[in-house]
């Protein structure tokens, strides 16, 4: 794996490090709670957890500015929390309640926030890639200097529409960062069994799109790469590809027994590469925070997550007449 590591001495303040820790921990605890609510039957259907991949969105968002857009696939809870969407609204959408971001009509895979410039939440693998380029097309059309983060997985990277989009994004210089979240398994198919190139970002070369691989378990490496990518797009040079090498600890979805990999493989990642533990170590060894400080953050996050679960449990189901609304504008 040629993924770039972060520079030795991270040029990052204690406040920033603490923020990354907090943001990643929120996603981890939120997802654990979502898994629990799923087990209790409060969340139905498909539920794809982001546990293990937290450093990707938190690192990417570190370089985002107000008004920048983001769009992703169905493994979307982390992206929503990272861009500042309310955990209550996200969790209540998971339980299909009135207080959810889509009033309970979208579910885990289909959530949106116009306010936070989050454009979904898309259930068809790779459909979000041209849509994301379209968001960037609109920004270029309006000449507003915004950048769109278009996330997709290693599995989506084998869909034809990705390359149709690369081609158009390149000829039209669209300000879009294509973020390939390579968690190494397209559902149950390991990358080597499905994908001709070990480093997927190299496919951009065929379209003249620059790119790089980055260690997705290292939030600081992701942040540095995100700054390069965003800078490139914002300066009018067109699209950029970031392949973020990451790992999901849980199954593809809740009903995946994950027999395609060993428990040892998962355990090794967890114990040696965990993105949250890495930042925790940096905070402690750099004396940026004490054990007590971190415990206080843990407690605070736990409360936020418990409150979101409580909200999601008690928010009423949508009124039956909601069935017939929002079909036409």
């Amino acid at each position: 794996m040629a993924a770039r590591k972060s520079t030795k001495k991270p040029n990052v303040s204690a406040e920033e490090l603490t923020k990354y820790y907090r943001d990643m921990l929120l996603i981890r605890r939120f997802e654990e709670k979502a898994g629990q609510l799923y087990g209790m039957g409060l969340i139905g259907g498909f539920c794809h957890l982001y546990i293990g991949q937290e450093a990707v969105v938190v690192g990417l968002e570190a370089a985002a500015e107000d008004g920048d857009k983001r769009i992703t696939s169905y493994r979307d809870h982390g992206h929503m929390l990272a861009c500042g969407m309310d955990p209550n609204g996200v969790m209540a959408e998971l339980t299909g309640r009135e207080g959810g971001y889509s009033k309970g009509k979208g579910g885990s895979m289909h959530m949106f926030s116009k306010e936070k410039h989050f454009y979904g939440g898309h259930g068809i693998v790779a459909a979000q890639v041209p849509l994301g380029a379209g968001l960037a097309f609109a920004d270029k059309y309006k000449e507003n200097g915004r950048v769109t983060f278009t996330y997709f997985g290693d599995g989506a990277a084998n869909q034809g529409q990705v390359y149709e989009t690369f081609n158009m994004a390149a000829i039209w210089d669209l300000p879009v960062v294509f973020v390939i979240e390579n968690n190494q398994y397209a559902m149950g198919t390991a990358q080597a069994r499905s994908t001709s190139t070990p480093d997927i970002y190299t496919r951009g070369a065929a379209f003249g799109i620059p790119g790089e691989a980055v260690d997705g378990m290292d939030v600081l490496a992701v942040k540095e790469a995100s700054e390069r990518a965003v800078g490139h797009c914002r300066s009018g040079k067109g699209p950029y590809i970031l392949e973020v090498k990451t790992y999901r600890y849980r199954g593809h979805s809740m009903s995946d027994p994950a027999k395609y990999r060993t428990r040892e493989e998962v355990q090794k990642m967890r114990s040696e590469r965990d993105p949250i533990e890495q930042v925790r170590d940096l905070l402690l060894t750099g004396k940026h925070a004490s054990e007590e400080d971190l415990k206080a953050i843990d407690k605070e996050i736990k409360e936020v997550v418990n409150q979101s679960a409580e909200f999601a449990r008690t928010s009423p189901e949508p009124a039956l007449d909601e069935l017939w609304t929002d079909i036409y504008a």
Partner: protein, 470 residues
């Protein structure tokens, strides 16, 4: 829930207890087998530890702890089958808090009541009074009209709307420098420049998605498909992204855009280039579907489509592009969606059609008139929304109905109309509805076979004679 104090194996009393419930591990799981505990009473567990293996009907799954604590008591033993989801299977305990503080049993997963049917779905078989319909003319009487081709009318509609709204742009294959494969976009590049009249690569799936994304962000794209046959490459973006996002986002964002291009058979281009998609798109909630016949409708409806806040499928026809019709000379001429046009009044039978089907319908009505049969001819103009009241009102007068379209018979537009008329006006029908469609075959190339595969005027004449028992 077990009652009474809980003791660890060492006999230590513990007060705070959390139930660990049998989890649902798939969207459809109701019960499962607790195959194997991987922890025992007294073990300390933390979040992420694997507690047990659970067999569902599909797989054996590992069940992880979410909370930290001590396994106080195992309630369901290894190998138990048919354990219902949400049954307590163990108690997780913690020191120092009272048992009363233990969370109550989880509330049941909510069960939705039966959804209320929309009022319109509960049809009366025999309306007491004639339905209200809008019969106002499309333009004020006395307005000057100009003979205009459908081709020019479409171009004029786009140009007028692009002048009025900076956010409208046209994108598609050969729309700019070539001025349209069928010369619909003549002059638009000159007037609006390459920012707003955009040649795409041959990549329907991709550019339909890019245009939909641009619409999410507030632009108003017009996507030209060189023909709708190629839109099958893009249909996932049209339906899953453009049509459904408003609903899925709870009304936060949608796709105010138009997908347009020639649809249906042209001439001698064979099976892959000769298909009518009216019935396909008509089925999709979230889409509006327009299929004009005349030039004034092409212009007035395309202007309405570009202004609409929803994704509109605008089905044109290559053979009609060169036909001329009267178009009113007005500053801003539009035609509303959901309003059929009665082209010809009659008393003996109603012929309903749309798009190029109108050509056969009108020609048949002329021939029938020569034989003393008076046919009323209705052009639906938009298929979604569909002006069924105008059709039903006409059927209440003529008591006979023939539908005409180029598409295939199974699941046709006509079969939907026949079904609605049967449900809403059964008592007014004096004969079974006849649906005239294209033949149930891929389009052949040979000239004689192609003629036979399409609907013909003679078939429409025969259908009207059949429903009038002549």
């Amino acid at each position: 829930m077990s009652s009474g104090p809980i003791f660890t194996p060492e006999g230590k009393k513990l007060d705070m207890a959390t139930e660990i419930l049998m989890p649902a591990l798939s969207p459809t799981m109701e019960e499962g087998t607790l195959a194997k505990w991987l922890v025992k009473e007294g073990d300390t567990v933390s979040s992420g530890d694997i507690l047990a293996e659970i067999e569902t009907d599909k797989a054996t799954m590992e069940f992880e702890a979410v909370d930290e604590g001590i396994i106080g008591k195992i309630l369901i033993s290894d190998g138990s089958e048919g354990v219902k989801v949400n049954t307590p299977i163990a108690m997780l305990v913690e020191e120092g808090e009272s048992l009363d503080a233990a969370p109550a049993a989880q509330e049941e997963a909510p069960t939705a009541g039966a959804p209320a049917a929309p009022a319109a779905a509960v049809a009366a078989a025999a309306p007491k009074s004639q339905p209200e319909v809008d019969t106002s003319p499309d333009w004020p009487e006395g307005t000057e009209v100009v003979k205009t081709t459908v081709r020019e009318a479409l171009r004029d509609a786009m140009a007028e709307e692009m002048r009025g709204n900076e956010n409208v742009f046209l994108m598609g294959e050969e729309v700019a420098e070539y001025e349209g494969a069928y010369k619909i976009s003549q002059g638009l590049l000159d007037e609006f420049g390459p920012k707003r009249v955009i040649d795409t690569p041959i990549t329907e799936h991709g550019f339909a998605g890019i245009a939909t994304g641009a619409a999410f962000a507030g632009l108003n794209p017009i996507v030209e498909f060189m023909t709708f046959n190629f839109a099958m490459q893009a249909i996932d973006q049209i339906i899953n992204s453009a049509a459904k996002t408003l609903y899925m986002s709870g009304g936060q964002m949608g796709a105010p855009m138009v997908f347009r291009g020639p649809n249906g058979a042209a001439a001698r281009v064979g099976a892959q280039h000769s298909q009518d998609y009216a019935a396909w798109y008509m089925q999709i909630p979230g889409l509006k579907v327009v299929m004009p016949y005349s030039a004034s409708d092409a212009k007035g409806l395309l202007k309405t489509a570009i202004r609409d806040a929803n994704p509109v499928i605008f089905l044109e026809n290559e053979i009609l592009y060169g036909r001329s019709f009267d178009v009113p000379k007005m500053d801003d001429f539009t035609v509303p969606f959901g309003k059929a046009r009665i082209w010809r009044e009659g008393t003996d039978a109603t012929i309903v059609s749309f798009g190029i089907g109108m050509h056969y319908a009108l020609e048949a009505a002329d021939k029938l008139a020569e034989e003393g049969i008076s046919a009323e001819v209705i052009d639906l103009r938009t298929l979604r929304p569909m002006d069924l009241p105008t059709v039903i009102k006409s059927v209440m007068k003529t008591n006979r109905l023939v539908t005409v379209e180029e598409g295939w018979p199974q699941g046709s537009v006509g079969s939907y109309i026949a079904s609605e008329v049967m449900q809403q006006a059964f008592d007014y029908l004096d004969a079974p509805v006849v649906t005239c469609t294209g033949k149930d075959v891929p389009m052949p190339y040979a000239a004689n076979l192609e003629r036979h595969a399409l609907i013909t005027t003679d078939e429409v004449v025969a259908a009207v004679k059949q429903v009038t028992y002549r």
